[in-house]
Symmetry: C2
Subunit: 406 residues, 2 copies
């Protein structure tokens, strides 16, 4: 498996576009991803009780539609808490794209991100669709334009792709994502779009997506706020020409590994580019009795405001890590815990059997001053482990969110 | 029931002191509260798996000791994650105070607050105890000195007291608390000390404390971090001379009301003085099916970083409130929700049946610019309600916590 250049347009048969339609003040605000042939589609969506109209629409399509062929996305307005008018606007958006693409509206996923409680400027959106369709292209650049058009407070576009082999055929999986704020486990990304030319049954595609979301997008947090709009969808159009995967055989395993690789990379980009973030924080809990325990513990640590501010200040205040583990809801023996930190600047054990080691604060601060900081926590109880990704909490997070709408 | 001046020294028979012993760089760091006669004691403690040595000691005493007569508290070092040495140091602190007071160590509650993972400077503490005991006094000023000595990042001392009548006898209940950071429901205060001269059985005192913590200290949050050291204790020394309360009669009801009054006032002070906070945020959810639902919803709202930053920016971004409610774990119908905000600057309905009203952003911003901001959310499902208190998330929270230890 190799990383290759590009994102959603990397696999065979996919085109994308990203344009400025006028929803936002200046930046690009509409994206389209299109498969030349009908594709199997699957999605995983927010667990929030308050679900945006596009999320409700995609859930319906995931249940009822045999094929998905396009995804239309707008940024600037989330189309959440918008009632019947919001539902109708969402349908108009899907329908307008479908009409121009000559496909049924029920094969068009939708996604929206931005301010909650405001109606979509549906005329602006419908007027933008002809240009969006005209601009569709299978180049790497077209994929990047789409990835840019879905950004809100993201500071850079997030894309990646891998190439791998199934039964002698080259298969490609690409993806793009946007995150930044309102990011927390239980569908951590706001919007993630994955495209692949693999041939796989809809049922297995769904299962593979769901299983891998658990280890990737659901293992990141920016601010503990689970959005109303979280959406990750995947299309598989079969154009790689492999024998269709219809059972959990070796090929399925290879595909899952590819999904995990792409989604992990995108998840880490989302965490690193959390609102106001200056650092990526990776926390691995090992020696746990179960994966669930290790996941809860690592997520509690990366989610703690106190840990996040300490990381921002490069302060090795490990008591806050122990504290966060303590309220995670997992039982463990604090007096067995070993804790290590590491980065490109070195590594250091801070805690042995629950007590401070004789470490140098200076060395610890140097390690924590890096752009990517890791913590490894060993519970010494079992053999399960899990990794979660977060970011530091900074002045800029406050600044961005104290005045997001203006 | 009337609020009166003073705090822990307001009821009959209580003395207090607060001194600088040398644990911290400059500010007062040791406090003592003492009852002239043995008192019934009760406590409620952190649910964190990682429990500080003083918490473990107090839990033991609450189970095993018939009487409690003093509480000794230090700030600067939390004595958490300190193993056997920490346990022994905690005992030495209780014992030294007990010896000078000529009472058994098993009648002395302890509490510590400050940095986790560091051992108590036990010599400094033991050396400070003679002065701490000598300074004991029943004046209002002595109570304030104690309230000041338990502060960490608090910006002012938190005390209050009420007077009420039981069977013709005047009874007084006083209290002090410290909070500021690592504050979240499930024992939200770091340290709260309540004193009363009421005569009540130990069992009922315990029950009354536990029940009222639920509606007061457990309904506040500063940063969602449940500390390792959270401790609320109450002493009742019987010197008011009322007939001892041994059953849940009318007198018990009056005492519970007094407890609720004092603890609510202290809880609101803790929320308003959260680290870096500039505003108190009070959120009431009504029209819920159960109190538990209303409590979960209101706590989710006051705990959300995105709501807290919006309040800091006086931005009526109500979608974040709906979003926080949506991930609280409570089922409700978003399309029934009404939402109002209010302050000394007026009040305004932002949401009706889940949709935005035609409100003026200018008016909303004016309302949110006040020091105390309220939100009332009506689910229109049932008749239960609950109130939670929080604060805004500001640059100063980040500043304080990025470099807490230096």
């Amino acid at each position: 498996m190799n990383f290759i250049d590009g994102g959603v347009t990397a696999p065979k048969g996919y085109k994308a576009s990203g344009i400025y339609a006028g929803i936002k003040k200046k930046r690009k605000d509409m994206a389209l991803v299109y498969s030349e042939v009908p594709a199997a589609g699957a999605g995983v969506f927010t667990t929030n009780v308050v679900k945006a109209a596009p999320v409700k629409w995609d859930i319906k399509l995931t249940k009822e539609s045999k094929n998905i062929q396009a995804i239309i996305i707008n940024s600037g307005v989330a189309n959440a808490c918008t009632g019947e008018e919001g539902w109708n606007n969402n349908y108009l958006m899907a329908k307008a794209a479908a009409d121009y693409l000559h496909i049924p509206p029920e094969s068009v996923y939708t996604a929206s991100t931005g301010v909650i409680g405001r109606q979509l400027p549906i005329d602006v959106i419908v007027n933008g669709i002809p240009k969006l369709v005209e601009n569709l292209d299978d180049t790497k650049e077209a994929g990047t334009l789409a990835a840019e058009a879905i950004m809100t407070t993201d500071t850079y576009a997030k894309e990646c792709a891998v190439s791998f082999s199934i039964g002698g055929k080259e298969v490609i999986l690409g993806g793009m994502a946007k995150g930044s704020g309102m990011i927390h486990p239980n569908m951590a990304t706001l919007i993630g779009v994955l495209t692949t030319d693999i041939s796989i049954s809809r049922e297995l595609l769904k299962e593979a997506l769901k299983e891998n979301v658990k280890y990737t997008f659901n293992m990141i947090s920016v601010d503990r706020d689970t959005s109303t709009n979280d959406t990750v969808v995947v299309l598989a159009n079969g154009m790689a020409g492999n024998n269709m995967i219809t059972e959990k055989n070796e090929d399925y395993g290879i595909f899952c590994k590819a999904l995990n690789t792409v989604m992990t990379r995108l998840a880490k980009m989302l965490a690193a580019d959390g609102e106001g973030a200056t650092k990526l924080l990776e926390v691995t809990v090992k020696g746990a009795l179960t994966w669930d325990d290790a996941a809860k513990l690592s997520k509690a640590v990366i989610s703690s405001n106190l840990v996040k501010t300490a990381v921002f200040g490069s302060d090795a205040n490990w008591g806050r890590i122990m504290c966060a583990m303590g309220y995670s809801g997992v039982e463990f023996d604090p007096e067995k815990v070993d804790l290590y930190i590491g980065s490109e600047n070195g590594s250091l054990q801070l805690v042995g059997n629950g007590l401070t080691t004789d470490y140098s604060e200076k060395t610890a601060t140097d390690i924590l001053a890096a752009k990517e900081v890791k913590a490894v926590i060993d519970l010494k109880q079992g053999s399960a482990s899990a990794t979660a990704w977060g970011c530091d909490l900074t002045y800029d997070y406050v600044k961005i969110n104290a005045d997001y709408r203006s």
